[in-house]
């Protein structure tokens, strides 16, 4: 098991005493598996993902078990947390522009983890990143390494971030709305790429999204969260067909849909 979260409760102090953010969340991700975590704003899906890296709100109190590749993240000491964050898991976010320092060159940002955390020599790190850029479908790597974030499109930046995340060979990838800000065509491209990389490396992916349809189409299994609790857990293929929880059903019904295609284009192609 790459990621195992069991009965996770999380609360933060508030003016009225304390506010429950997570109420008994349990989920797991295995090798080579893509697991969707779906919910609307405030459902606690991002907090759950962040808890896997012990990126918790300040003064939060936590109970339950979180383990990554068998390492206890919830109770472990700093060394364990550092090992998980730097080697075993990586996280990518919705806004690549918010992650990359705007005044530093791509090459410097992308090799940061390798150089500063893993002690890889600068030249070697650049060589490795350049190779990864090729794998994520970015060409002209020399020019790219010297570019600044504002010179690249959102889709290209997200590829850069993915390459940087993969540079340390993580076993688990946490993707928090990683493609939500992209155009649908770019989103499909990035996801096709992510799927290939994941299969090659036998990585586990926790795919956090607000888009139930995307999760159903892309993931193997899907968890649905509401108000800090998991309300549904199913195979992705059946979640629209037979949702067991009324909330999932409401969510599925609310999703705007496209009409059935007449596949004339495909016939002619």
């Amino acid at each position: 098991m790459l990621l195992a979260i069991e009965d996770l409760h999380l609360s933060v102090p508030s003016p009225e005493g304390s506010r429950q953010i997570l109420r008994g969340v349990s989920l797991d991700v295995s090798e080579g598996e893509t697991v969707g975590l779906v919910g609307e704003s405030g459902s606690g899906k991002s907090t759950t993902a962040r808890a896997a890296l012990r990126l918790l709100p300040e003064r939060a109190s936590l109970s339950g078990a979180v383990s990554v590749c068998g390492h206890d993240v919830a109770a472990g000491d700093q060394a364990v947390v550092r090992k998980v964050r730097s080697e075993l898991a990586a996280m990518i976010f919705q806004e690549p522009r918010a992650v990359l320092n705007p005044v530093r060159r791509i090459g410097s940002s992308a090799t940061e983890r390798l150089v500063h955390v893993h002690g890889v020599a600068k030249d070697e790190a650049r060589r490795r990143i350049a190779a990864l850029f090729g794998e994520v479908g970015l060409d002209d790597t020399d020019r790219l390494l010297r570019a600044y974030p504002h010179q690249l499109s959102g889709g290209m930046l997200q590829r850069v971030v993915i390459a940087a995340a993969l540079s340390t060979g993580p076993r688990l990838l946490l993707a928090d709305e990683a493609t939500s800000a992209l155009d649908v065509t770019t989103q499909a491209e990035v996801l096709a790429l992510l799927r290939r990389l994941q299969r090659e490396r036998e990585m586990g992916v926790l795919f956090i999204t607000h888009d139930l349809q995307l999760a159903a189409a892309y993931c193997d299994r899907v968890y649905v969260m509401k108000d800090g609790a998991v309300v549904e857990h199913q195979k992705a293929g059946t979640i629209f067909v037979s949702p067991s929880d009324p909330y999932t059903k409401a969510l599925a019904d609310a999703v705007p849909r496209l009409p059935q295609r007449d596949d004339t284009m495909e016939a002619s192609a």
Binding site: S41, G42, S46, T47, R50, P57, E58, Q94, E177, H210
Partner: protein, 287 residues
Amino acid sequence: MTIDDIGARTASAPVADRRRRSPWTFRACLAILGVAVAAAVFAPLVAPYAPDATDFSAIWAPPGPAHWLGTDQLGRDILSRVIHGARPSLLGAIALLAFATVLGVLIGVVAAWRRGWVDTVLARITDVMFAFPGLLFVVLIIAVFDRGPATAVIGMGLAFAPLIAKFTRAIALEELARPYVDAYRLQGVGGVQLIGRYLLPNLMPTLVGYLVVLFGEGLMSLASLNFLGFGAQPPSSEWGLMVQEGRAGVIQGVLGPALVPGLTIAVVVVATNVVGVRLSDKLAVRT
């Protein structure tokens, strides 16, 4: 918005904690400003002596029951002079700020609203104004007019205006980029009305916090000018001028006449800064 807001909120919390001074400091500073304003308003009622009442039998008297803070080289009561000095000192700073604000906000808002060449021209003008030290402005103006409180205020006002103009332009640009401004335009609201009735009130909270901090700076700059003799003239008991007149005593080893008004300036400036920073934190909460 699908990102949980918890992370963002907690990430900013420690920063806010550090910037927020403990409430008692804030309250003490507020009290200091209250005393200063009260002194300015009620000076004749609360001061034990007239500010220009000389007593040649008590020149450079040390603090005592008759003169709590001692007397100066003409035997004038220092406490009374400091209390009376509050009015010209504070009024001077207010006048300076009012003048600079009107000019600066006008330039800043027009530059942000019109953009293009208007913005460029105004930016060049403020840059040129920026390049001159405030003192130079005053010297120039004194060369044309004469020395006096009004000259000092106008000169310093011209030096402060570009600061306010740049600040206003920056926050106005940010505000104008918000879609509600476009919504007002589409409703048929004209430019002047949009600026006066909707834009300025929305800029006010941010602007006021900034102006309060500038007030302390203005007070100090005016005091320096008066110290140099460019502004208020004797027998005024403006604080900067008092420090200047008190220098004679410092040589003789009598520190009071210079130290008391000097400390008063320092305390009031620090108090306005504390209050201003706190105020701008509170007011500038944007939704």
